[in-house]
């Protein structure tokens, strides 16, 4: 027999347990999880092998593992796990570790890993927008009809800030995706010569899996999560479309001298879409939050990463709707502060995106496309 020298990284095991993989030591390697997971492939199926790698502290294997992204965390493995080792949670924790390590600067990864750093994360945008408010109206509530532009003029404050944030996030992701590709390659998965191009795979993944949530749907044990995720996803898509139209209408309109003015009338179809998006968002949040609160802790435990993201989206949604309602109800004393909070939470959602669980929208998409390119798919697929 070949000798295998194991060099366990004890610190890594501890970090993984803290990142949501608390239960990993309970696994006794029966492989129930690998079998019942409909997404787990024939060769080197997951998540049984990840469980033993995690127990042995084999960091190198785990940080390069594409399979953590193929897992959609439906929870079927954790449900059937005979030992309460919650493989679903351990894979989620591995992804949490990846959010922390893939994107630079690393300090942000650290800040996003524990509630202890929330004051910093909140403080940065809170101070930034407070300064802006100070410059525009001297921290007072402006008179007249409520127009948030009076306090936070789009052209000089909102758009430049979020424009810079967007560029920062995009560059961060570009370098992180490079790291991700290198890690997949170093674990030995390389596309064959006759494999389709990555771009074709990417388009197929978006068409066949992401917009339909087809893989998510395969999970029989957690229909509520699938529905919740689908609602949230389309809520975000609707809001993204609205934001894009408003931005293009505003800046593009400037060029042709015919600008789109906000706030939009309630009769405007774009405003309809915005409100529908907000409703989808809240409906999805309700389903997913309920699912997380009702989960049997013997099966699965939600991590800080789960609650951070859910919390921020709740805050964005509620302050967004709150600003609109208070504006329409003409309560300036509350409308402006709530809008201020809305900006803070949107910043917390977008500027830190590569280090939060929401980064899965990039990493998982890339990994799924790569998996398709190398032909890695579930036994039944």
């Amino acid at each position: 027999m070949a000798r295998l020298k194991i060099e366990p990284d004890i610190q890594f095991i501890k970090e993984l347990q803290e990142a949501g993989g608390e239960s990993l030591k309970k696994c006794y390697q029966c492989a129930t999880c690998s079998v019942i997971c409909p997404l787990s492939p024939e060769e080197n199926p997951f998540p049984r092998k990840e469980m033993i790698w995690a127990q042995w502290g084999l960091k190198d294997k785990l940080v390069n593992d594409i399979d953590i992204w193929l897992c959609h965390n439906c929870g079927e493995c954790s449900d059937l796990c005979p030992r309460g080792a919650s493989p679903g949670d351990v894979l989620a924790a591995l992804r949490n570790m990846a959010y922390r390590s893939l994107a630079k600067p690393a300090i942000l990864g650290k800040w996003l890993s524990s509630a202890r750093y929330l004051p910093i994360l909140f403080g940065i945008p809170a101070l930034l927008y407070l300064i802006i408010w100070g410059f525009t109206t001297g921290l007072t509530i402006p008179a007249g009809t409520i127009e948030f532009g009076k306090v936070f003029p789009g052209d000089y404050t909102i758009d430049p800030v979020f424009g810079l944030v967007a560029i920062f996030v995009l560059f961060t992701f570009a370098s992180a995706i490079g790291n991700l590709f290198n890690s997949f390659k170093s674990s030995g998965y390389v596309p064959k010569e006759d494999a389709p191009s990555f771009w074709k795979c990417l388009i197929d993944i978006v068409k066949e899996e992401i917009i339909t949530h087809s893989k998510f749907q395969k999970c029989s044990s957690n229909a509520e999560r699938y529905q919740g995720h689908l609602l949230l996803f389309y809520g975000f898509v609707a809001l993204l479309i609205v934001t894009s139209i408003v931005a293009v209408g505003h800046w593009g309109g400037k060029l042709i001298g015919h600008q789109l003015h906000t706030p939009l009338s309630l009769l405007n179809p774009i405003k309809w879409l915005a409100n529908i998006g907000a409703i989808l968002l809240i409906a999805g949040l309700v389903l997913i939050t309920r699912m997380r609160l009702n989960t049997d802790p013997a099966k699965s435990v939600s991590s800080y990463y789960d609650w951070y993201l859910l919390g921020v989206i709740w805050a964005v949604g509620l302050t967004g709707i709150g600003s609109e309602v208070l504006r329409l109800a003409n309560v300036p004393g509350l409308a402006y502060p709530v809008y201020y909070l809305h900006l803070v939470f949107v910043f917390m959602l977008i500027a830190y995106l590569p280090w939060t669980k929401l980064a899965h929208l990039v990493y998982r998409t890339v990994a799924l496309a790569y998996a398709r390119q190398i032909g890695r798919k579930g036994l039944d697929e």
Partner: protein, 413 residues
């Protein structure tokens, strides 16, 4: 004060405890809920590791009971109430009607005329009996019994007219009696874990995925197929057989402990299947193979058989194909490959659930996961699988221990 001992359960442990106490002079009462003594052992085809038939041990015990006036037993009986205190318990028994009295010679004429069929619980649904039946040829007492739930009673009465010995009374009634005893031995044994709860393993809906106890009946000479191992759906001789270990055991969703005997039971079954079918191929899927103590030798012997393969990886999915074959999905964790394999017959090594699990207890003892874990200070002692999952030999040893403690409880008062 009473100098008698109540033994609840007439299986191997109960019989052993009863005889040990009776043979040193104490009066014992055995209470058995089935119509026969012998319990689960009487359903077995063979014991491990010697592969002798269970009639061996049972017959000797039956002889000892017959010869010993100190042993009294009640079949079709259950304890419904216990009052009093150690040394002086008053125990109420409910005795269900047998409808057949002592005159019965087990001639079997009644069976020929009985028009009603029932599923044989003794054969775990694999065979049928008439409404009047003998559970198995070795049944003690050798007396027929009528299943009151299916028998049409006096409106039919065909058996009455053919019985020359006036052994049948279709108007037999449930009785209640009260016993005075000083000690109690709980030897209520176990039941096979309910496979309908194993949803990912077919929940009992896959015909050719049978339990290990059904396998014992299929292989037993007094079983539904006369000892020929045939798969239930089409009576085909199985050529490819899989064993699914830990079907419900070592699982927090089912039985959260190792049932101790299932590995040995499957290894034993491999041996007798291979004797019957020299060409058959067998795969045992396991998490860990547990052959405790000196049973290791038995495991080694089975491992030497080239046609028996052992795959480390639990079966977590069973499905049926169109022809009654069973598709087994498991990950071979040594190879790191997840595969679907098709078998003619699959045996689920279902675990031991204590008979008292989930049952409203009449005994004032602490029960954990169905096992009796206290009671000694009250003069109540557990033996055999009521205490923990055990093989037959060790069950008998715990029964001897329980008998001694039961006697001490009487003497030291």
């Amino acid at each position: 004060m009473s100098n008698s001992i109540l033994i609840v359960g007439g299986g191997f442990s109960g019989l052993t405890a009863a005889l040990e106490a009776a043979e040193v002079g104490y009066e014992v009462f055995i209470v058995e809920k089935e119509p026969y003594l012998g319990g689960r052992v009487s359903q077995l085809n063979k014991y491990f590791p010697k592969l002798c038939p269970p009639t061996c041990g049972l017959e000797i015990n039956f002889q000892r009971i017959k010869k010993n006036p100190k042993v009294k037993f009640f079949t079709l009986s259950e304890v419904t109430k216990i009052s009093g205190s150690p040394g002086n318990y008053e125990v109420t028994l409910k005795i269900r009607p047998r409808f057949v009295n002592n005159n019965c010679t087990a001639c079997g004429k009644c069976v020929e005329v009985c028009p009603v069929e029932r599923e044989s619980d003794f054969d775990f649904g694999l065979g049928k009996t008439k409404a009047i039946y003998l559970s198995h040829p070795m049944a003690m007492p050798q007396r027929y019994v009528i299943d009151g739930d299916v028998c049409s009673g006096t409106s039919c009465g065909k058996c009455l007219s053919v019985c020359e010995y006036k052994a049948i009374n279709l108007e037999d009634q449930e009785k209640e009696i009260v016993l005075n005893v000083g000690s109690i031995v709980i030897a209520t044994g176990w039941k096979p874990y309910d496979i309908t709860k194993l949803t990912n393993l077919g929940a009992g809906q896959i015909k050719n995925a049978i339990t290990n106890m059904q396998m014992e009946r299929l292989a037993a000479a007094n079983g539904p197929t006369g000892g020929k191992i045939l798969r239930p759906s089409d009576n085909k001789e199985p050529k490819k057989i899989a064993f699914v270990q830990c079907a419900g055991s070592r699982d927090q969703n089912h039985l959260n402990y190792c049932s101790y005997i299932c590995c040995m039971a499957s290894l034993k079954q491999c041996i007798y299947i291979r004797e019957q079918y020299p060409d058959a191929e067998i795969v045992i899927y396991y998490i860990d193979l547990r052959a405790p103590g000196r049973y290791e030798k038995f495991l080694k012997k089975v491992q030497e058989d080239e046609k028996i393969k052992m795959v480390k990886g639990k079966v977590a999915k069973l499905e049926e194909d169109g022809e009654g074959n069973v598709i087994v999905t498991a990950e071979d964790i040594i190879e790191g490959v997840k595969k679907e394999e098709v078998y003619d017959l699959v045996v689920l090594a279902t675990g031991m659930q204590p008979s008292l699990d989930g049952v409203e207890g009449v005994f004032d003892v602490e029960v954990k996961e169905g096992f009796v874990v206290s009671g000694e200070e009250k003069g109540i002692f557990a033996a055999g699988c009521a205490k923990m999952p055990l093989d037959v030999m060790t069950s008998a040893e715990t029964a001897t221990g329980a008998a001694l403690k039961a006697i001490q409880n009487l003497v030291r008062r």
